[in-house]
């Protein structure tokens, strides 16, 4: 009871901040993606692929969310894009406040695409809007092909779902087309991509998805 009341206050404050983040992003014509997903599902890898494919044509920045580490931030920095490490400390998700503070270190006027990599978690990021234009959820076959039905909310509230690492489906006894079907059952209008970093065509589809939002 106690907890629920406070959560309402926290959620309200977060929603308001997310709204002001969104206004700032729109004013600066920045396209912002919140990349959520399971621990180690391939979020950083997919963002790296997109950066490599798009950085000659678009000005890209990244906010790399993590509890304490800065390993993902260093991976992005190596690609020569503006990167801010956003450490949550003990929290298992990014929130709008942390994104607001991170954006203070990014020249938004000089940015076309902002990737925000969330903390590996399929539960709490659902509740915390950040001000993003598009929410992406990434799972991999390796989590097991029951992962989708175990975490319905994140698939219901995302704009794109990616089932990654399809190259190792057999080794982990998972059926990616069952996962796709489960996602479509939960959210009939969501596009679903099956990807593997070893399959160039699948990665190209992910990049085309991003480009479909840019002129």
């Amino acid at each position: 009871m106690h907890v629920v009341n406070v959560n309402k206050d926290v959620m309200k404050a977060n929603n308001e901040l997310a709204h002001s983040n969104k206004k700032l992003l729109i004013k600066n014509r920045v396209f912002a993606m919140n990349i959520m997903g399971a621990i180690g599902s391939g979020k950083t890898t997919l963002i790296e692929e997109a950066i490599n494919a798009l950085k000659d044509r678009y000005r890209i920045a990244v906010i790399a969310g993590d509890v304490v580490a800065e390993m993902d931030a260093s991976r992005f920095e190596k690609l020569g894009v503006r990167t801010v490490a956003a450490n949550t400390g003990r929290e298992c998700h990014l929130d709008a406040k942390l994104v607001e503070r991170s954006m203070e270190n990014i020249d938004l006027e000089d940015t076309d695409i902002l990737f925000i990599e969330n903390v590996g978690n399929l539960i709490c990021p659902v509740d915390y809007k950040l001000g993003e234009n598009v929410r992406v959820v990434v799972v991999s076959v390796s989590e097991g092909d029951d992962t989708v039905l175990k975490h319905p909310m994140i698939f219901r509230t995302s704009d794109l779902a990616i089932v990654n690492k399809v190259d190792i489906s057999e080794a982990v006894s998972a059926d990616p087309s069952k996962m796709k079907a489960d996602i479509e059952k939960l959210n009939p209008s969501i596009p679903v991509l099956l990807t593997s970093r070893n399959d160039r065509i699948s990665i190209d589809r992910w990049i085309e998805y991003i480009e479909s939002y840019l002129e």
Copy 2:
């Protein structure tokens, strides 16, 4: 600030309940393990293996934590052990209250081993004691071999660490011995097991670990 104060109240209430759970478990001579770990890292599979190996000699019960689903609970039920599905609703971790309520549906006098499978998450379960005797953390190579250093707290506060799915290390470009070394750096006294469900000897070591607590 607001959040921190309340969290203190929540944590205090949880610690008190965990303590009373622990007393109840000790009084009934139940050995309880809190199995934490990454999403899809193999928690259910490892508990299933242990149940199969131990159920003829010990009376086993399971609390299967999940946000909404009951898939893991059905897997345990199939093995003929007392199973309670503990759904957290929106929470990303089990807490002592939910375990207390779940234990009301278990005849503790008739139980030697209680497995508590936590929600797939490497962050929040750290803060929530349940009353368990032993805390186990499971990661798999598939999350990437930087996962340990990204989540130091759970390795510092666990009694056993398992690096699972070592059979697919190459396919996901992960080095399990780096992961073991990282864990031992964070927590020099913790035993670390490298396991694969395809390697019987590695599974036997996990079962021997459990038996070392039983007479």
